[in-house]
Subunit: 340 residues, 2 copies
DNA sequence: TGGCCTTAGTTAAACGGTTACATACCAACC
DNA sequence: GGTTGGTATGTAACCGTTTAACTAAGGCCA
């Protein structure tokens, strides 16, 4: 079975020319007569010729494929990012290997090992934990998105938001709306998205700057045993059951925010008035909630574009001009902070 | 730059043996002394040798990679399916190309063209529209999941639920709980998931069988201009605003069901008592809703397993023993039909 | 001693492209 | 007529791996 697929050699024979000419015609290179081109093209089409990428890759030392690692594709933020990056790369002629590491170091390392062996031309690392455990054998270009862990490669670029500023702005938004006792809710999956707990930094920073006393009982961190949404609700319940109170919530992620909102609603709290809530990522969760959840748009579109642009530049062999690219974010207020 | 990565040839030279021996050692084939093996292994490790898959693929006419096409990875049902399939394939030594076709024929065709050229060993098509537009040049094995469109390949397997039975059971569940005027809500993205509108068939079938008069005004189909969740709500609003009424809703998808539930709640309807709702897929949407939405578990785990098993069998060259594999489904009743 | 088997290893071809270099032809120019 | 130059095409090496076919040496046995 498995009748060998038609090769450039078969076409050359049928057309009565050499493989070099066929290759030239197929790639618009070198020179050849119009007659030859038409003949070769016709035969190629007739025979259903499809170039063998393995052969091309071997010879050219380039597979035109990219590794795309992300911790969790089911997370709206990451999945839109991944899809945008993939689309842009595809438009540039690259195929992507999309990998879901589930925040597992070992899995990530395994993926990289196998993809390095598959000779990917570049690597895009999205979110996730620190990357200290990874050691790459080749000097392949790497782009990090939403994440700051270094890899020590010779060609390496970072793209992301100013995360401390994001949580700073979230906290400020609540404070400016009159909140005085502001809680922070996060589950580890989102907390670890940046290597140095950047995400929470702005919350502490703002409180400090405004002279607001930090109440450790209002910092709710979950170990992410289950769906972040459910867990966030439990954290809120535990906190309130223990007798603590708050009038504002900085939720590191819209899923977390939705969990918080649902838990508060279940207790009869008027979300948006009694307690204001702000989430992050501007994902579907913040939009489908009632009341709609205020959030931070982190500009996945621009992140993807900057990342791909930087990667393509490195692939073209251009020197890295800007190692760290910061994408602006934007607070979007909805019912949970406006109180309408 | 780009210092050539170390090849089997370099190792052979360093170890003072032939490339054949190195290859044998690395693949546990042929025969060699223990001394030689240790030497080769040590040098390979020292030099950070990584096999070049392009060369291997070219020689072996197998890339150990699979194309995985799905209409929408942001859809919970598809994404869990994709991840499970990918995981099982990885465990079997295959790398997956995960592709998001967005229900776009042209995009799908483009993906397949490029992946065929990349010499994928097999193809898994998940959900999506009919596949009549696709013509594959090689006789690569194909597995379809949750979808019935034929491709006319020599090695082709279908895995999925009995979709007419699914909507039949959904309708029956509502009827048995006392619903008499049962609406059907779908948006095209989900409606087209099976080629012959299988999904709705059971709804019509059940009504017919029970002698319940079909009211066309209660069949709400959206063109999927936007998020299915939002759109479902609009369809419900339009229907009720037009003066029609229902006491049960068959929603083809949990996202659709959530949209319906939200819209009804906004109108002050007591969901679960005044109107009962059942969704499909047992996704996160049905679980995070208040009230929790009844749904149908479609067993993505078993689907993935059956699909991968069938694919691996075909890749091993075994003949197709069962062309059509049906995975059982299960109605899960929660608050929106139990009325608690 | 010769024949045969086993083990350890080598040689070289093959996979399907790309490409540097060689060649053949023709026209134009001085 | 010889030189120059462009165009169209062919030749063959090369990318890194696997593997069929082969060699060489040692052991065993009649």
């Amino acid at each position: 079975m498995a009748k060998r697929t038609v090769s450039i050699y078969d076409i050359a024979k049928l057309a009565g020319v050499s493989t070099a000419t066929v290759s030239n015609v197929l790639n618009n290179k070198g020179s050849y007569s119009e007659k030859t081109r038409d003949l070769v093209m016709r035969i190629a089409r007739e025979q259903g010729y499809v170039a063998n990428f393995a052969a091309k890759s071997l010879r050219e030392a380039s597979t035109k494929s990219i590794a795309l690692l992300t911790p969790d594709v089911s997370n709206d933020f990451f999945s839109t990012l991944v899809l945008k990056v993939e689309g842009l790369l595809r438009a540039a002629g690259y195929t992507s290997y999309i990998c879901n590491t589930a925040n597992d170091d070992e899995r990530e390392a395994e993926y990289l090992r196998s993809l390095i062996s598959k000779q990917v031309d570049g690597i895009v690392l999205i979110g996730g934990l620190t990357r200290e455990h990874i050691q790459l054998p080749t000097d392949v270009p790497v782009v990090h998105i939403d994440h700051t862990g270094a890899l020590g490669m010779s060609r390496e670029v970072y793209v992301g938001n100013d995360m401390p500023k994001v949580s700073y702005d979230m906290t400020a938004t609540l404070h400016e709306r009159g909140c005085e006792r502001i809680a922070l809710v996060s589950v580890s999956a989102s907390l670890y998205r940046t290597s140095e707990h950047d995400q929470a930094a702005g919350y502490y920073g703002y409180l400090d700057e405004q002279g607001i006393r930090l109440d450790k009982n209002l910092v709710l961190e979950g170990p992410h045993r289950q769906t972040s949404l459910i867990e966030a609700g439990q954290l809120v319940d535990e906190c309130l059951d223990a007798g603590y109170s708050f009038d504002g919530v900085v939720a590191l992620g819209d899923r977390v925010a939705l969990g918080v909102v649902n838990a508060l609603k279940a207790r009869g709290v008027d979300v948006g008035r009694d307690v204001r809530v702000i989430g992050m990522d501007d994902s579907i969760y913040s939009r489908v909630s009632t009341p709609a959840i205020s959030t931070v748009r982190r500009n996945t579109g621009e992140m993807a574009e900057q990342a791909v642009q930087a990667l393509l530049a490195m692939l073209r062999g251009e020197p890295v001009e800007q190692e760290r690219i910061v994408v602006p974010h934007e607070v979007i207020e909805r019912a949970t902070t406006l109180g309408i």
